[in-house]
Amino acid sequence: MDDFLAARSQMALSLGFHIIFSCIGMVMPFFMAVSHYKWLKTNDEVYKNLTKAWSKGVAIFFATGAVSGTMLSFELGLLWPKFMEHAGPIFGMPFSLEGTAFFIEAIALGFFLYGWNKLNKWFHWFTGMVVGVSGLASGILVVAANAWMNSPAGFDFVNGKYLNIDPIQAMFNKAWFSQALHMCLAAFTATGFAVAGVHALMILRNKNKEFHLKAFKIAAIFACIGALLQPLSGDISAKDVAQRQPAKLAAMEALYKTEKPAPLLIGGIVNEKDKTVKGAIKIPGALSFLAHGDFKAEVKGLDKIPENEHPPVAITHYAFQIMVGIGTLLMLVSLIYFFILLRKKPLLDKRWVLKLFVLAIPLGYIALEAGWVVTEVGRQPWIIYGIMLTKDAVTPMPGIAYSFYIFTAIYVSLSIIVTFLLYRQIKMVPYVYDQLKSSNKLN
């Protein structure tokens, strides 16, 4: 494996892994806080047990997310030293703030996990909220740093030199808002569906119905609100990308030729050699509308962009199709769920709805990862869009392939262990939380 490809694969793997874990660590605290609030208000033991059960998940994911995040802060330099040498001082602002947010999150988590029966109950609840809020803030800040790579700002690039650096302007670059909004909603949607799905599965298996139904309801409401809002944020993102990164938009839609009006392609097989797409469903004018809000507008195709600046079209296109397809599906599930809630039908009678949620367990995360593939692969060949090429940023050290193999082995084993741990946590629910009502034995 060549070093450049190995470095890219290692980065993709590390980010792909970190994204899932940090999303869970970022969203679950809010579920926990809702359940915790209900326990404090209603004194219903089930909510207390649920909070504790979820907090164990949060602890596992936070630790995994924290160590994989620590890794990333080093990997940026280990793999892309040339990039960090120039980019560090420019886009470092969100990272330094994120350090603070992350620190606060770790402290708050310490309070929360070990504070049962030791702290004032509302202060205890508050520390749980702090975990969530600072986690979310960390997420937004890190995405703002990524957005800078898509939409460089806060410096003047003169003769290969980075001058007049302004880190604040760099942080509030043009892409930060649309990307951060899209990411936060995605995190809530994906985590919500995954959590709701697991609890739906347990309900279908007739295990601890009361416990799992309460859990399901909390997670599902977050998931469904997220899924319904996501298309709006997607629209903001699409218009934004069309304006800033026409090459990325063209690759997302495999638009090889500039067209006016441009059709939206759904599916299809991309042939990168012949620059054609076969078997796609074409909706005339729809891409023009999505990109520019006008059915007749011109959309820039890849023909307007120098060949050596083309992103990999097939991967970007497929990833985009997967993301939008799943997003639409989850939106439909959400509509069904709200319809049932509005008609006040008992959920337990609607087993098919629960089954839908079970099917949706991995979908949110698949869409989320696909979305990141669109952003990151769609930005290639640039590491800083229009400024620095990815291949110029890679480390001079040879043998990166071996480090990639090691990392792959680590991440695969971590994923297996975490899945295994969660499986055991869920399997133990009936023993720990239901039959044993004396919950003080837990800690």
């Binding site: 164990k56 602890a59 596992i60 936070f62 995994t64 924290a66 160590v67 994989s68 995040g69 620590t70 890794m71 802060s73 080093f74 990997e75 330099g77 280990l78 030293p81 040339k82 960090m84 040498e85 120039h86 560090g88 001082p89 470092g92 602002m93 330094s96 703030l97 994120e98 350090g99 603070t100 992350f102 620190f103 606060i104 770790a106 402290i107 708050a108 310490g110 309070f111 996990l113 070990y114 504070g115 030791k118 650096i165 302004d166 880190p167 604040i168 480390t395 001079p396 050290m397 480090s403 090691i406 680590i410 971590l414 262990i417 741990l421 055991r424 946590q425 399997k427 133990m428 720990v432």
Partner: protein, 334 residues
């Protein structure tokens, strides 16, 4: 503002050494505890570091973020030429953190526990070893940015007697810090005695490895003796550390625990000061005789200004909260 940033950088490194070090040390102590006492040690340790360990490791993140935002040249030089030890350290950090959490949160306590334990104790040893190696390499003057072959560019920069001696010294210091810390965390008289013994052992180990560092420095032609003894700050730091060592042993034998912690922290701080003061503000010493200084490598003005501001703001938020965390979970006497 650059002084603010540099202060925070030094503070981050120091606190990571003290708090993170004590944390690693807990694993090292476990590694060197006889099998029959292990589960007891594990329990004390879990109660002691469970609530605070993640926060302790944030200091590393703070230090690394300061480096890559404020001193990109230092960060990238380290990343390129110390790639391999950094990688091993990272793997250690991952393995250790996850094993620690996994062993506590595995709902079923079975054979898997042994697996987690093994990973935890060995990575607790390897991580500070490589942290020490990295720290040693940075000042060793063995990093060769002009090398043309793989070995001299990516291996010999850190694989030398001096760096490895510093690594072992770091491990001993971590073990020492942890033992001192744990003495105050247990109520059990028998346990207390065990930890005191461990602290004595680790202290002896630290003195031996410390001597080895000097020998290795001599062998690798590093002017460590000059750094430490030829300027007043270095010399007085070493004298203070040695004097407090006598006091420390006296208190250890007497079993006084409260002052011990402060004293141990003080000693490690003095050691760091003695080693680093002479070549401050130089951060990385290179083979060609040049050095990368903090003041030369410092990033653009606006960056440093906003970084300093972020750090100040952050500490207003973090420090009281962190202090309360330590306070809340350490008051054992009441």
């Amino acid at each position: 503002m650059e002084y603010v940033v540099i202060t925070f950088l030094c503070l981050g490194i120091l606190l990571y050494f003290l708090l993170g070090g004590a944390d690693f040390g807990a694993g090292i102590i476990e590694l060197f505890t006889s099998v029959k006492n292990r589960s007891k040690t594990r329990k004390t340790m879990y109660q002691a570091i469970g609530p605070v360990w993640e926060a302790n490791h944030m200091w590393l993140i703070i230090a690394i973020v300061i480096l890559f935002v404020g001193f990109p040249n230092i960060y990238t030089t380290m990343s390129v030429y110390l790639h391999i030890p950094l990688l091993i350290m990272l793997i250690g950090i991952i393995a250790r953190g996850t094993a620690f959490v996994f062993r506590h949160y595995d709902a079923v306590k079975d054979n898997m526990q042994e697996v987690y334990n093994k990973i935890f104790v060995y990575s607790s040893f390897i991580t500070p070893l490589f942290l020490g190696i990295i720290a040693g390499s940075v000042i060793s003057g063995h990093i060769d940015t002009e090398a043309n072959d793989f070995l001299s560019a990516y291996i010999f920069g850190w694989f030398n007697w001096f760096s490895i001696a510093v690594g072992l010294f770091t491990v001993a210091l971590c073990g020492f810090l942890a033992a001192i810390y744990l003495i105050g965390e247990t109520q059990d008289a028998h346990d207390k005695r065990r930890f005191i013994k461990k602290a004595e052992l680790m202290n002896v180990a630290a003195v031996i490895f410390g001597a080895m560092v000097f020998i290795a420095a001599q062998r690798d032609q590093i002017p460590l003796v000059d750094w430490v003894f030829k300027n007043t700050i270095g010399l007085s730091a070493i004298i203070l550390a040695s004097l407090s060592l006598i006091l420390l042993w006296y208190l250890l034998i007497k079993g006084k625990t409260k002052v011990l912690r402060i004293l141990a922290g003080f000693q490690v701080t003095m050691i760091l000061l003695a080693i680093s003061y002479a070549h401050f503000p130089n951060f990385i010493r290179l083979k060609n005789g040049n050095a990368i200084s903090l003041f030369e490598a410092v990033g653009p003005e606006k960056t440093i200004y906003s970084l300093g501001l972020a750090l100040l703001l952050g500490s207003i938020l973090i420090l009281p909260f962190l202090g309360y965390l330590f306070y809340k979970f350490q008051k054992k006497e009441e």
